[in-house]
């Protein structure tokens, strides 16, 4: 079942490497390339390698998610133009990291995925993304061809809104015996969110190729 997910991540990673250019957006492209590459390594290399060992899967996912949080907050920090929202983003990053730390070391344990703090992180990221769209609706001119921010934010909103729903349900059903029956639903959500995320990220990286199309927008 996880094969589709792995294929999507692997194809996206290859596309991102091929289309990566050190242009004016490299400060955003670089961390995204890194995080997609890390997702590829985790799912296709590290998890299969640790199968059958003592290393719990959730420990690897916890480590990956903590890096993911840092990278995505750095990306939105770079995308945001005004100083105040930037400071707020930094402040929220600290809150997310603190709550993750508390959840992992005091509330639950490190071998369980930090669902609650991860949901908080997703909610914050969705709100920042909506703020970005709202802010850019008020400016005189927004060029889809000149910047890739829209596609990054679109990927962020799509991925994290579906993922937020997934983790909220996971949190609700984690203690219930129904969790097994809902596994297919979670799988579908994961696949859908990843597919849409990868499509938008690829569009962002291939922005230059679509320049003529964006100019008509």
């Amino acid at each position: 079942m996880l094969l589709f997910y792995k294929i999507i991540i692997a194809i996206t990673f290859i596309i991102l490497i091929i289309t990566y250019r050190k242009d004016k957006n490299y400060k955003i492209k670089m961390p995204i390339l890194f995080i997609v590459g890390l997702a590829f390594c985790v799912d296709d290399i590290i998890i299969p390698l640790t199968k059958g060992t003592q290393i719990p899967k959730n420990l690897i996912y916890n480590l990956y998610s903590l890096i993911d949080i840092g990278v995505w907050f750095y990306v939105v920090f770079t995308i945001l133009k005004n100083q105040i929202p930037r400071y707020i983003a930094v402040f929220l990053t600290l809150i997310v990291y603190t709550s993750s730390f508390i959840e992992l070391f005091f509330y639950d344990n490190i071998n369980q995925f930090h669902t609650t703090s991860f949901c908080l992180y997703e909610l914050i990221l969705i709100l920042i993304s909506i703020y970005y769209l709202y802010f850019n609706l008020k400016i005189d001119y927004y060029s889809f061809s000149d910047n890739i921010h829209f596609w990054i934010i679109a990927a962020c909103i799509i991925y994290h809104s579906i993922s937020f729903l997934k983790f909220t349900f996971m949190g609700l059903y984690s203690s219930s015996k129904n969790i097994q029956s809902a596994a297919f639903g979670f799988y579908l959500l994961g696949l859908l969110s990843n597919l849409l995320f990868c499509i938008f990220i690829c569009i962002a990286f291939m922005n230059d190729y679509f320049n003529k199309l964006w100019k008509t927008i």
């Binding site: 729903l165 639903g185 959500l189």
Partner: protein
């Protein structure tokens, strides 16, 4: 049965949320597209308005120059001719005319010639058929009569041939203005004008060895505004760069 329903419910919820998120993004794209189009339309109108305004300004200025030229030729020129004639009469009436009268006559002749040449330069009809390079050389020769300042022109005779007469006229006015600025404000001893054709453009450099000036502070001056407006009309670019000593005006005009 109930268990399957939960799975389906989660999947449907996810799809609904994805559709909502996509809808939000679609609303953003549509709204932005509308705003972008409105903005571009406004910008187009603004550019058109500025172009019309600039054209009108240039036309008014040319009309003023023509009127001034005609006035100089028909009025001031006639008055000087009359004064010269009266002087001849006076000279004849005096048995032994002082040599200074001859000098006055010569000065008047020179003044008349100057007035005629200025009126000629100001007349648009005459400038419509003119060639900028020879005309510029005449203007430079006139300025060079003053020993304290030397203006040199480096350009091939046919360098401006690909440019229309109207554009040559605008370029000529730009160079006149730039030269006048250097003479009036820069306190310079030499001005070098270099005109070359390069990569489908005409590149003009006006270098002086004067005091130099703060371009940002002087940017609202009428002279500089006139230069900028004319360069805009020619769809070219103009830059004022420090020359140490002096200023370097760099013009680029597409052919």
């Amino acid at each position: 049965m109930e268990n399957n329903l939960i799975g389906e419910f989660i999947a449907i919820g996810g799809v609904v949320l994805a559709v909502l998120a996509l809808g939000l993004l679609a609303i953003f794209v549509v709204s932005r597209r509308r705003q972008n189009m409105l903005y571009l339309k406004n910008q187009e109108q603004l550019v058109l308005f500025e172009k019309t305004l600039m054209q009108s300004r240039i036309e008014i200025q040319e009309a003023t120059y023509t009127t001034l030229g005609n006035e100089l030729h028909d009025n001031v020129g006639q008055l000087i001719s009359s004064a010269k004639l009266l002087l001849v009469h006076a000279e004849r009436a005096i048995p032994d005319p002082p040599p200074v009268l001859k000098k006055v006559q010569d000065t008047l002749s020179q003044t008349l010639q100057e007035v005629r040449s200025i009126s000629k330069v100001l007349s648009k009809e005459w400038l419509e058929v003119f060639q900028a390079i020879p005309q510029l050389q005449i203007e430079i020769d006139r300025v060079n009569q003053n020993d304290e300042l030397q203006v040199t022109l480096t350009a091939e005779d046919n360098v401006l041939q690909p440019i229309k007469n109207e554009s040559q006229l605008l370029l000529y006015r730009i160079l006149q203005e730039a030269m006048q600025n250097a003479i009036k404000h820069a306190n310079c001893t030499s001005i070098n004008i270099n005109i070359i054709a390069k990569e489908s453009t005409i590149q003009v450099t006006i270098k002086d060895d004067g005091n130099g000036f703060d371009h940002a502070a002087a940017s609202n001056g009428i002279g500089l505004q006139n230069i900028r407006n004319r360069v805009k009309a020619l769809k070219g670019t103009v830059e004022w760069l420090p020359n140490n000593p002096g200023t370097n005006v760099f013009l680029t005009i597409p052919i």
